[in-house]
């Protein structure tokens, strides 16, 4: 502390122990080499997508070590589940991951339905697929805009939000909200889609396909983007498996793992679509996989809208807010936009679930960062961080 000087406020470690920081950075600085700079990325930096803080040890422009610091957005969702009824916890699911609310809706509703043995009507299953895939597209669009923004291009995020607004309009028809959607109920969905809902989707699909072509010309083929992404941020399958990274990260490492295919849930086995897999192991692979997923999701939505049968959108005698889960436990996984979402519900038959464990894909995906960013320059580390598609509320829960 006495060695602190205003000429050197960022703590160049000429002597160990002279760095002025909080617990995390001091603890991190203990292992730093003399002469290296400790840098805090975040928690309020725009490129960290929320309130993620990454402590980085820098040697010049190179990242020597890094450590993500979490917990700035912890809202104790899992504890809240122990104090609410099973139904009362449903709205929380829209708030765990604000970009992929429907994915979390499905994971929790699916776990409870599995435990209680509730079967959904056919129409509800189709509505679920339509909502989940539209939500996946909107999540990927936000990621796409924000990622390219991280790399220094401002304009694409405006186009991405333009398209996302259309999806928000569509989902607002049935869910009533634009961001924290609470659509799923035990045994069905909250509201049936009307004619306007389906006609809006039918208009949206060809429109989005045109826009994807524009995205390709504007961004994907851009030489600056290519040079920023290709061959940078290698994450092979071994690394992903060791940290439990799932979703586009794992698929960009050449592993065709998608919960919709490997453990089919809902009615995903009825649709014709592909799981995009890239072998390149780099940032561009992850970028490409997500953009391909948008067009695959469009295919699924198109088929679902064409095939949807008439009927009820929720079972008769659907669980009421005071409904109690039967004793037992169940685990249910769905493929969210960021990877595998798993919800583990344990119930002792009481008023509220005994324990609910939420497995957020972002948490495992983030843990890959420290190893992947080792030895890269700072600008590339930001590109790697962006390619992970982090949503901090989901990681902190």
């Amino acid at each position: 502390m006495s060695n602190f000087s205003f000429l050197n406020p960022f703590g160049v470690l000429d002597e160990p122990g002279t760095y002025m920081g909080d617990f995390y950075s001091n603890n991190f600085a203990r292992k730093a080499q003399a002469g290296n700079v400790i840098l805090n990325l975040g928690p309020q930096h725009p490129s960290t997508h929320g309130v993620l803080r990454v402590v980085v040890e820098m040697y010049g422009e190179y990242v020597v070590r890094s450590e993500p610091v979490l917990g700035y957005l912890h809202r104790s969702h899992e504890k809240m589940a122990e104090h609410k009824t099973a139904y009362g916890f449903l709205p929380n699911m829209g708030r765990v991951d604000y970009l992929n609310a429907i994915g979390w809706n499905w994971a929790y509703a699916g776990a409870c339905e599995q435990l209680a043995g509730i079967e959904c009507p056919e129409r509800a299953e189709y509505l679920r697929v339509i909502a989940a895939e539209l939500n996946r597209i909107s999540s990927h669009l936000v990621w796409w805009g924000a990622f390219v923004l991280d790399l220094g291009a401002f304009t694409p995020i405006l186009y991405a939000f333009d398209d996302r607004e259309l999806i928000c309009d569509i989902l607002q028809r049935v869910t009533g909200s634009r961001l924290t959607m609470n659509y799923f109920r035990f045994g069905g969905v909250g509201a049936d889609g009307d004619d306007l809902f389906f006609s809006k989707i039918r208009d949206f699909i060809p429109n989005m396909r045109e826009r994807l072509k524009m995205y390709k010309a504007l961004v994907t083929d851009n030489v600056i983007l290519r040079r920023r992404l290709e061959g940078i941020g290698p994450m092979d399958a071994d690394l992903c498996v060791r940290y439990g990274a799932t979703g586009p990260l794992l698929r960009a490492a050449g592993v065709p793992r998608d919960v919709r295919r490997s453990i089919p849930y809902g009615i995903y086995d009825r649709f014709d679509y592909e799981i995009p897999v890239a072998e390149t192991n780099d940032n561009f692979g992850r970028y490409w996989v997500r953009l391909q997923e948008i067009s695959e999701s469009l295919k699924i939505v198109e088929q679902a809208v064409a095939q949807i049968p008439p009927g009820k959108h929720i079972v008769d005698k659907a669980p009421k807010p005071s409904w109690k889960l039967p004793p037992g436990e169940s685990v249910f996984s769905v493929e969210g936009a960021r990877g595998e979402i798993t919800v583990h519900v344990i119930s002792d038959g009481g008023k509220s679930p005994y324990r609910v464990k939420l497995r957020a894909p972002g948490f495992s995906n983030l843990s890959v960062f420290a190893e992947a960013a080792e030895g890269t320059i700072l600008a590339d580390a930001i590109a790697i961080l962006g390619s992970l598609d982090l949503v901090i509320p989901e990681i902190d829960r």
């Binding site: 609410k84 607002q172 504007l218």
Partner: protein, 189 residues
């Protein structure tokens, strides 16, 4: 040969930049897609399915009377405990219907459990306040005010719910006054 391919790569890169510039240039001359909020608001059709803060539905026979029978289903089912319904001593109708919008997560549990369809979502997008007390809404008073303001306007183009919530035009410019005057101190006065 290596030099030739380097030149070719750079030319291709330059071309990709030109393509991008063409696209952004084309969009530059297209009409505006955003809405400049205080001067302009989104169309009411867009709000037809928007779930804003709760309101009480108009009565079937007497419009200013609520359909609520004080059964407390909504208050019990609410995950955020934001509803307070007090039954009157004479009949079934409530004397107090307080709704704390600061605690509400708009999940719709109350609307779904209500046996008489007395609660519905409003489309008030522009409800803001600088004090917490002003967001505790007295919905009975709100219902009276709405009925006094005029009869139900023709319902907008199709809503997903069978019960058609009435379309309420937003107050453009400035925060909307909180409907419930439950001891809300005016922040300015």
């Amino acid at each position: 040969m290596k030099m030739l391919s380097a030149i070719w790569d750079n030319l291709k890169g330059l071309y990709s930049l030109l393509v991008g510039m063409c696209i952004t240039g084309r969009y530059f001359f297209q009409p505006l897609k955003t809405v400049h909020f205080p001067r302009d608001v989104v169309e009411p059709e867009n709000l037809a399915s928007y779930r804003g803060p709760l309101e009480l539905a108009r009565g079937k026979t007497d419009e200013s009377k609520t359909r609520c029978i004080s059964c407390q289903m909504c208050a019990k089912g609410c995950p955020g405990n934001c509803i307070t319904v007090v039954k009157s001593k004479e009949g079934k109708n409530p004397v107090t219907w307080l709704y704390d919008f600061t605690l509400c997560c708009l999940c719709g549990a109350c609307v779904e459990v209500c046996p008489t369809a007395a609660i519905q979502f409003s489309h008030r997008l522009y409800l803001v306040s600088t004090s917490r007390e002003a967001l505790v809404l007295d919905l009975l008073k709100d219902l009276e005010e709405r009925v006094a303001a005029g009869p139900l306007p023709a319902a907008g183009a199709g809503t997903p719910d069978a019960k058609k919530p009435e379309a309420r035009m937003p107050d453009a410019g400035g925060p909307q006054k909180a409907a419930g005057g439950s001891a809300a101190p005016d922040p300015e006065g």
